[in-house]
């Protein structure tokens, strides 16, 4: 789909997961922009009913309808869709069974509650079903979208969410739902799908990422890249880091430096800065350790810089450029 070589050529369904607080939705949006760059059509879907995409692109809440939300550098388009299980169910009934009237009756009788309450496997079939339908959809002899990016449930649930086949198998061994789940799985298991993990260089998100990658492999689902979010450039050398960590920084030197910079070089400020350097050093050491642990997963890794003032649209384009530069899109 691209004239450039990327790490994920041939992948058309990018599933983006991550622990809460890692910036999963932001990275999914940035990835969609990156994939759209240079004239492609990309659909960004969300499945958790949070309207996170609308917030990121600063537009009104998304209806159950594919809507253009952004233009990518070089003339590509990003469309967005918030998949709502109820609407997806009606859609599904219409598409596969021509049961428009039934949809209304089912809603009235609380079937939607049933689908979303008793059997989450069924809800997930609907959500993944809608996303994979967009992947397969053709118009005018070619694919309607060059790529679909899904802002998926968090890492702890991702394998279960994608492995709908296994989930549904227990509920429906034969029959239409089973067949539908099979079709969804065909796409998800194919080389056209990659599941990316968003993480921070912190202990818990890294652990969840490693567990998630292992779980996906066990379920024979395709792990993709690891997007390490909110990273900072290294500013201190090893000697300074060691001294900062050990609390042996020379306060006099800091005082002299502060004065040289035209600041009042009082000892309290110097001490406060030394404390901040010490905390920074602890963090850097921790980040290095977590980075090494991530390397063990043997999946491509991408480093996304922290956007100091919180991610706005400009920040999103910057992250997209990073992803492209590093070969993620």
């Amino acid at each position: 789909m691209s004239t450039r070589d990327t790490d994920w050529d041939g992948v058309r369904l990018h599933v983006v997961t991550g622990k809460g607080g890692t910036g999963k939705t932001t990275v999914a949006a940035a990835l969609a922009l990156a994939l759209a760059a240079g004239g492609h059509r990309v659909l960004l879907v969300e499945v958790e009913g949070r309207q996170g995409i609308a917030q990121i692109f600063d537009c009104p809440p998304l209806p159950y309808e594919e809507r253009k939300v952004a233009v990518a550098p070089g003339g590509g388009d990003v469309y967005a869709l918030a998949i709502d299980p109820e609407a997806a169910l009606t859609d599904y009934l219409e598409m596969f069974y021509n049961l428009k009237r039934a949809g209304k009756a089912l809603t009235r009788f609380g079937v939607v509650d049933f689908v979303t309450t008793v059997a989450p496997g069924l809800r997930d079939v609907l959500l993944t079903g809608k996303a994979t339908e967009a992947v397969r959809r053709r118009s005018g002899g070619k694919f309607a979208y060059d790529a679909v990016v899904m802002d998926a449930p968090p890492t702890g649930r991702i394998t279960r969410f994608l492995n709908v086949n296994a989930e549904v198998a227990g509920l429906a061994k034969v029959g239409p739902i089973h067949n539908h789940a099979d079709k969804v799985m065909d796409v998800i298991r194919s080389p056209e799908t990659a599941v990316h993990f968003v993480t921070l260089l912190e202990e818990m998100p890294v652990q969840e990422t490693l567990d998630g990658v292992a779980e996906l492999r066990d379920a024979e689902l395709p792990p993709g890249g690891i997007m390490i979010n909110m990273t900072r450039p290294a500013t201190l050398g090893k000697r300074d880091l060691d001294a900062a960590m050990a609390g042996t920084l020379d306060l006099d030197e800091i005082v002299t430096g502060l004065k040289a910079a035209g600041l009042p070089g009082d000892e309290a400020t110097a001490r406060a800065l030394a404390t901040e350097l010490g905390e920074h050093a602890v963090r850097v050491a921790l980040e290095r350790r977590e980075k090494r642990r991530l390397a063990a997963a043997k999946q491509p890794r991408y480093l996304l810089p922290v956007v100091p003032d919180g991610v706005d649209l400009a920040g999103l384009y910057r992250l997209a450029a990073e992803l492209r530069q590093q070969g993620a899109a």
Binding site: V111, V118, E203
Partner: protein
């Protein structure tokens, strides 16, 4: 803009008060709820209370620090806590499937219980339904409260995106079980089924046809068996959930909303605060976790950056230049956090707030929990860094 000054949250007064029997820590996922709950429980125990902490999904190392090595659904004594105070700390991890199984076993005769436990829909409902965890947390809380073995129960709510799930999920499940669909599905299994169907005759044909078409006949049958088997169990079950919900409204319960100083987490916290108010549930306050602090608040980010640049130009004092850049960044973060906090307190001026500074690394031992506990109880910290 000067942020509105919120009252400080007096954590020690809350946990020392013998009338406080339940503290519910809620908030969106990833804000440090579990750690806050554990730290509170530990502090209360060391101040002499008989405490049980109910956690739902702790990080492995945090669980280990409290001596929880596996999910076993029973409170375990955490060793070496309390000392002279006479307090004790118990901790347990919720196993939602086991809690569910126990309820079924307690309320259905053995044959029926076996039938329910073996049904594929039960398997699905008890282990994957996103609301089951909330329902079971609520149920476990009720059990612990009724046992009266502890004088303080600290609950860590399940990790969901929305803090409201904890309050809403049980009702949703209850509504579903009361719903028309259930009655409809059970109708054929009942003696009076025919008459029943007549009531629903409008759309009934379409309904069964559609259900059979979508689900397949076998699935429909499984669902029906499951639903009718559960019905015997659930009348009682629903009542218990309602009772527990009422306990949450009673004096003696305190909600602590935990949030990180980030836009999304604080928005969720806001929703939750409003909701608690609507439900007349007692809110103790907001724990603002992982706040960035500095010992050099007088040195603004702009001055700090300018000074760093000056040093970099002359290529002198690179360490100090880096320190100033780090400080500038920290000041920016602190200002953003203060702004967000200001927005929250403007909207909810009466909600007491306590800030817990960001820790350089994750907490996974009792010492770390004690440190968080000290921070939680610290009333000396300036409430506004930038003002």
């Amino acid at each position: 803009m000067m942020p509105t000054e919120a009252p400080g949250l007096e954590v020690d007064r809350l946990i020392d008060d013998p009338r406080t029997r339940i503290i519910v820590c809620c908030g969106s996922g990833g804000v440090g709820k579990t750690t806050a709950a554990a730290a509170l429980g530990l502090r209360a125990a060391e101040r002499g209370r008989e405490v049980v902490v109910l956690t739902v999904d702790p990080a492995r190392r945090l669980a280990q620090s409290m001596g929880l090595t596996e999910l076993d659904n029973t409170p375990r004594l955490v060793a070496d806590i309390g000392g002279a105070s006479g307090g004790r700390l118990h901790a347990m991890m919720l196993d939602m499937k086991r809690t569910f199984d126990e309820i079924v076993e307690a309320h259905a005769d053995p044959a029926r219980a076996r039938q329910i436990l073996a049904n594929p829909f039960y398997e699905s409902l008890s282990s994957t339904f996103s609301g089951t965890q909330e329902y079971m947390a609520m149920e476990k809380l009720g059990q612990l409260r009724r046992s009266d073995e502890w004088d303080l129960i600290v609950v860590d709510t399940p990790p969901s995106r929305s803090a409201l799930d904890f309050l809403d999920a049980p009702a949703r499940l209850g509504r579903f079980l009361d719903g028309r669909l259930i009655r409809l599905l059970m109708a054929p299994a009942k003696a009076g089924g025919r008459a029943y169907m007549k009531v629903f005759s409008v759309g009934m044909n379409v309904f069964t046809q559609a259900m059979t078409k979508i689900l397949g006949a076998q699935v429909l049958k499984d669902v029906q068996t499951f639903v009718s088997a559960l019905e015997t169990v659930f009348g009682d079950f629903r009542e218990r959930a309602d009772q527990t919900y009422k306990v949450l409204q009673a004096p003696g319960t305190a909600f602590l909303v935990v949030a990180a100083p980030e836009h999304d987490a604080l928005r969720e916290a806001s929703y939750f605060v409003e909701r608690l108010d609507e439900e007349r549930m007692p809110l103790a306050g907001l724990v603002l976790n992982r706040v960035h602090t500095t010992g050099a608040a007088d040195l603004s980010d702009a001055r700090s950056l300018a000074a760093a640049e000056a040093l970099e130009e002359t290529k002198s004092h690179p360490l100090v230049a880096s320190a100033l850049r780090l400080h500038a960044e920290r000041m920016q973060v602190a200002e953003r956090e203060a702004r967000l906090r200001g927005q929250f307190t403007s909207a909810h001026p009466a909600v007491p707030v306590v800030e817990v500074p960001a820790q350089p690394q994750d907490v996974h031992d009792l010492e770390g929990l004690r440190r968080i506990g000290d921070e939680l109880a610290d009333l000396t910290r300036p409430t506004d860094l930038t003002g």
